[in-house]
Amino acid sequence: MFGKLFAHKTIRATLASAILLAGVGVATAEDGDLARGQQLYALCTKCHMTNGSGNSEALAPAIAGMPSWYVETQLKNFASGIRGLHAEDTGGLRMYPMSRWLRSEADQKAVAAYVASMTPIRPAKELEAEGNAAVGAGYYAVCSGCHGAAGEGNQGMGAPPLAGQSDWYLLSSIQKYRAKIRGSGAGDPYGAAMQAMVGTLADEAAIVDVIAHIESLGD
């Protein structure tokens, strides 16, 4: 009876294509399936926008062109609660459920690959405070050890690129590290390091200056 069932041409063809499709899915998802990533990215567009420019109103930073290793790590950190699961981390708490829409590592990799493939967008200046970039360059010497002199980031140090990031997001990140809202999660050595590093920025002026310097990078 089963022989007869499988002998049916349509069923045979369907089975064959299903097996083929499954095989293809597994093979390409390994290295971040761009088409799958783009499909899943539809969820992110509500806050990070279709072009990945971010939206300060939604507390969503610019992510277009961020390296895939960093995006993938952050997606995993959000999903496991290492990052974002703090009562005062309003933006982070939004990422906690959103990151959990991605139910497999293949999907996390796919979204990360798609975000990395997007064209970076230079965000507009949003902070009112005018920092002194030249003074900020002095403070930035400490940051450049990991984030690079040109703010290009360094995967080996777990440091994301800073050049081209929105000024409001740099500010909010520094403030969250200062207040230990970010970087306190167990298993987040880079966050813990950042909590210590932001201590080198003594006051408001120093923070605004270093942001002014970072914003001048990559011009």
Binding site: L85, P97, E128, L171, K176, A179
Partner: protein, 242 residues
């Protein structure tokens, strides 16, 4: 009773009252519904088209026809009245009457998480030893709690299915309600008001502990909270954003 197998476990003092109301409503609605279905389908069958029989035209205004409608009204209205009286009673207990509290907890909803602030060892909110937890509500069995429900952004709804409790959270308002857990265990808390794209993944857990276990938890956590408070943490600076 009838719906037990379909509903989640009960773990609050008023959960059984609400389940009883479910039962009463189900029964009182089921009865007229069954009668109506029976009449509807049997009449369709009985008065189906037959050869040589012409349909009769009825306006339905004569008393001998109308009385069947009137008579059916009386039990339906009576059932409605029973449901209203019983529902108002339960509603009063759950939502309007506020029994004396033994402890309290702050519940803060935001897109898309719950923050619960538990009183520390001093059993008073707003002090340094308050225990703040994201997506975890810890309570002690047989303790009457007042909750202070707030929302930081949009409408949410604090729903604890095992308590049969649902309360809207409205931005700008602090809404007070109460519950008393009766059974230890761990259950779901959910948001029951669509609140944005992450609404479906906004669950939290309620952990109902025995008094001794809860006391131990408070002692540990409130010491940690105090230590964190004492620690010199710098406050975020106010830098104006355009």
């Amino acid at each position: 009773m009838i719906l037990d197998s379909l509903l989640p476990a009960t773990a609050s003092t008023y959960a059984a009252d609400i389940d009883q109301l479910f039962d009463v409503i189900t029964l009182l609605v089921m009865l007229p519904f069954s009668v109506a279905c029976y009449l509807f389908f049997s009449f369709i069958f009985r008065f189906r088209a037959k050869d040589g029989e012409k349909a009769m035209y009825i306006t339905g205004t004569e008393h001998r026809y109308m009385k069947w409608i009137h008579r059916a009204h009386y039990p339906v209205l009576t059932f409605d009245l029973i449901i209203v009286v019983m529902a108002v009673n339960v509603w009063y207990d759950v939502k309007q009457d506020l029994p004396e509290k033994e402890s309290e907890v702050r519940v803060i909803a935001q897109q898309w998480a719950w923050t619960f602030v538990h009183p520390g060892l001093d059993n008073t909110l707003g002090t340094a030893d308050d225990i703040t937890k994201v997506n975890e509500l810890h309570v002690s069995k047989d303790t009457l709690y007042h909750f202070k429900l707030e929302s930081l952004d949009v409408l949410h709804n604090f729903s604890v299915p095992v308590f049969r409790l649902k309360q809207d959270a409205i931005p700008g308002r602090v809404i007070t309600g109460w519950f008393e857990p009766t059974v230890t265990g761990e259950h779901d808390i959910q948001c029951a008001e669509i609140c944005g794209i992450g609404h479906g993944l906004m669950p939290a857990r309620i952990k109902i502990k025995g008094a001794a276990e809860y006391a131990k938890w408070v002692e540990r956590e409130s010491a940690l909270a105090l230590a964190r408070h004492m620690e010199e943490t710098s406050q975020p600076l106010e830098i104006a954003q355009r």
